[in-house]
Subunit: 211 residues, 2 copies
């Protein structure tokens, strides 16, 4: 093995990347088996590191998962906001945000399931409740979907429904479909996505006389 000029090997030789492998393995396994269902030993195996190594990068299992959630959740929000134009019509902005959920879910299936699981765990529920009641956002960033709905209601464009119901009407079907897609139960082509998005809009838009 030669020593000099070893700069062209960016893959395994670098010390950097081990942390990423651990994170990737954790996301993949927990998204499938859940927190309690995936032992550290399995994460270590999947990541190709020793079990002890994980504790060089993360204090404990909880911290590991929490950190991953924050990271994935931020990436998710960024996907939604990328290219978001506050000057577009309400409908177009709505479609943009909802399409973002599809996009993120299809491109990051493991992260998507991970986030979903986290939100449905006791910890995630507590988090949402606190956000709801205290409004003491740490990141400050709230889903712009809520503002959009409030704004649209004032203009008689969006149905008069509790915000939570509108959000359920918009997000519910998409989350449902993406999960089916990840499970391999359906193939999501562009046409299906577009029609589904249009249908979601039909659900939240104010009636204009159509029977």
């Amino acid at each position: 093995m030669n020593i000099h000029s070893t700069k062209a090997t960016p893959i395994q030789v670098n010390p950097i990347g081990k942390r990423e492998h651990i994170i990737d393995a954790t996301i993949k396994l927990i998204s499938e088996y859940g927190f309690h269902g995936t032992p550290i030993s399995l994460i270590a195996q999947e990541a190709g590191v020793g079990a002890g190594t994980i504790y060089r990068y993360f204090k404990d299992k909880d911290t590991l998962v929490l950190e991953i959630f924050k990271q994935a959740n931020n990436a998710f929000k960024e996907t939604l906001l990328h290219g978001y134009d506050a000057n577009q019509t309400i409908r177009d902005r709505f479609l943009h945000l909802c399409r973002g959920i599809f996009q993120y879910g299809i491109q990051n299936p493991y992260e998507f399931k991970f986030i979903e699981q986290f939100y449905n765990s006791p910890y995630g529920t507590t988090l949402r409740r606190e956000k709801l009641f205290c409004n003491c956002g740490d990141t400050g960033q709230e889903l712009p979907l809520e503002q959009l709905f409030a704004f649209g209601q004032a203009q008689q464009i969006i149905k008069k429904l509790p915000l939570a119901a509108l959000i359920a009407l918009a997000i519910g079907p998409i989350v449902f479909l993406v999960k089916d897609s990840i499970a391999g139960l359906i193939q999501l082509d562009e046409t299906t996505i577009n029609s589904t998005l249009a249908a979601c809009w039909d659900a939240v838009k104010q009636d204009t006389g159509g029977r």
Copy 2:
């Protein structure tokens, strides 16, 4: 073996309720903490029985959970089908079925979350996939929602979308809302439920010219 007084029910003879207590405790705990997150010891404590007693009624933890799922799932289907009238309009039948989901979820929050979790577990996913591909139903009973959609599509009443997408549009928001309701994030009154159901119909119904 004694001859007289043939006991056809070997389990129910003893103080009735023990088995039910175990089931109830399991549903409650697993719906909150998940399968791997709820130890048998905790179930025993919550049910007010000894840990060993559980094994008098169920072979092991898996069997316990599987049996509960079947039971809850059947009760769920019954709720949906109760009062279902195949002679009503497609819209009314749709609303009936969807309202049933709300009803069951609100009246049986623990069971609802339990079923949801089960379907999203690896086991549940496998089950759904098998049902989809083999069509070898054990109970035979499929959600009538699918038939309804297929029928409605033929009559141009329902949007031309993959069945999975239609089901997502109908069920997704309701599941989403019920979970929020169970988490205490929203109060579901009759008005909200009705409006949400109407919105779900808007999502799946064929356009009639409204802009």
